[in-house]
Subunit: 323 residues, 2 copies
């Protein structure tokens, strides 16, 4: 059983988004049907719409992106316990996983080999591919639906499901907390959330940017210091001093310049993924037992924890809205 929903759809790498009608499944036993109130526009959405990841994940057209979804529950399946109609709810980058593998059991659904992404991924229910949040309605298994807080501006909650968890998770994993010195490289969708979290965790927060024009923004977001990364002298002043650096830059850049800023046992985690391999000077890792890592969104329990943390600390994503 299915129903129709309006959506913004793109039909080729070069065509504009147009209004379209898509088919959604009726909520089955474990499903939650959500009226979408806001959906963030993630840079991934644009990459996918333009088929710029054709090697890794070719785009199936028509494509309906969107994985930063906030809305109100309109219907729940008979076995659903976490939600009822009228609740605020959120959906991020994933809508299903096998639930039985070691990753799922450990709370790392994002690494499940049988993961289903929110859009452009084989749809097990209807065939074809999944359709994302550029739509008026979505139906998702309750395991992949997050309770959304009522005290935050919902327009700024959507991006927390992607940019929020992507930056929150590695900071928690690598122990960002009061007394630590933390750097954030790049001040876009991910980086600006990282600055907010590092500040909320009580760390001494340093924002790195190539654009002097972003300095005031960084301070407003919660940075204690701003370093213009093109200035070698400014960079050198921080050599060997960081416990953790989160790098949100997807373009190629000199990663060794940042690795050299880490203290002993410091970690640099990439959440942006440059297309070509980054040359890493091993000597910089050996000196100080430093490590260079990656991280990808977070599991569902941690995503809920992140959103609860945001509710408690009044944290949302900055946004420009359009209707």
């Amino acid at each position: 059983m299915t129903y129709n929903a309006k959506a913004y759809s793109v039909s080729s790498p070069t065509s504009p988004f147009v209004s379209a009608t898509i088919t959604r499944r009726d909520a089955t036993e474990h499903d939650v049907q959500i009226e979408i109130l806001f959906c963030g526009i993630c840079h991934s959405d644009l990459h996918q719409a333009r088929n710029e990841w054709s090697g890794l994940m070719p785009t199936v057209y028509p494509c309906i992106p969107g994985h930063e979804i906030v809305g109100r529950v309109t219907k729940v399946g008979s076995a659903v316990t976490k939600f009822k109609a009228g609740d605020l709810a959120a959906v991020g980058c994933m809508v299903d996983s096998d639930g039985t593998c070691t990753e799922c059991k450990a709370g790392f659904e994002q690494f499940c080999p049988n993961l289903t992404l929110t859009y452009n991924f084989p749809d097990k229910h209807l065939g074809g591919v999944t359709y994302g949040g550029y739509s008026e309605s979505i139906v998702v298994d309750e395991r992949f639906v997050i309770r959304a807080p009522s005290n935050l501006n919902l327009a700024g909650v959507g991006p927390l499901l992607c940019a929020g968890i992507t930056t929150y998770s590695p900071m928690r994993h690598w122990g960002v907390s009061k007394g630590k010195k933390v750097g954030v490289v790049g001040l876009g969708g991910l980086g600006h959330m990282a600055v907010k979290f590092a500040h909320a965790f009580g760390a001494h927060t340093v924002a790195f940017t190539t654009s002097p024009g972003k300095k005031e923004d960084a301070l407003r977001l919660g940075a204690d210091e701003v370093v213009i990364s093109r200035n070698a002298d400014e960079m050198n002043k921080h050599a060997g001093s960081f416990d953790f650096i989160l790098d949100a830059v997807a373009a190629e850049h000199d990663i060794n310049a940042y690795i050299n800023l880490l203290a002993r046992d410091g970690n640099l985690t990439m959440v942006g993924a440059p297309e070509t391999p980054l040359p890493v000077a091993v000597f910089g890792l050996i000196m100080g037992r430093r490590s260079f890592s990656g991280s990808m969104i977070g599991g569902m329990a941690e995503t809920q924890e992140m959103l609860d943390f945001c509710a408690g600390h009044n944290i949302t994503s900055d946004f420009n809205s359009r209707s």
Copy 2:
């Protein structure tokens, strides 16, 4: 006050080692004088003798290498408490540090900004550079002298002070233990010790080698499995399965092939340092929150712990002896 000691000395990048006489200081208050019984020949010694690290650490000639030293205490200074004449003692890569910086206080003398290496490093006592263990005698501050066990073949103890601690330390740091799957890349001086330690720690130990001829050696050293790394099928069978990989290869090689073998939260630590940066595919780190690290020898307390562990588990380095 000084005395003369015989040594093997090299006077230029191209000249052979020759017998020579060097000057040693008399033991001061905190010093231990050691009659050297064995000294390992580390590959670093050859790099240094041949001035192959001219960019990083130019060789001062005459050069007397050697930082895998085992011997018997012949004299101690008035303030020395850990040693007395007749004790077995060992000296590794360092002979001094400031003792007051945060690294020293945390037991990481190897990262002290005022470290003195055992050879080819400014000698604070006599001027010139320090002279290493290719000598009949050495004088070292007791903080940098390790108690050597009497139950091991001393010829196989020297390399523990370099290859031993270099492989033991990162394995301890990254939690190598029973139930973990551990890989060792390269089966030379460092790698063969890593296999012995991984096995002694109870891990399922997999040795990677390009040389099928080393398979029997690896099994004898304690490997549970041997993978010929040139065989892509063999490699793929282990994808996503390792908790820890220690990479002891200093030559350029495809590090991403090993990163892809790591399980979620797996770590690959380099103890070899290729001269040119290694291209690291960030996507491989992001998938599975993997990390890529380096490690350099170990602090003095941990070096003693390592040697005590070796004594308890009857572990020595393999060796070919020459007198």
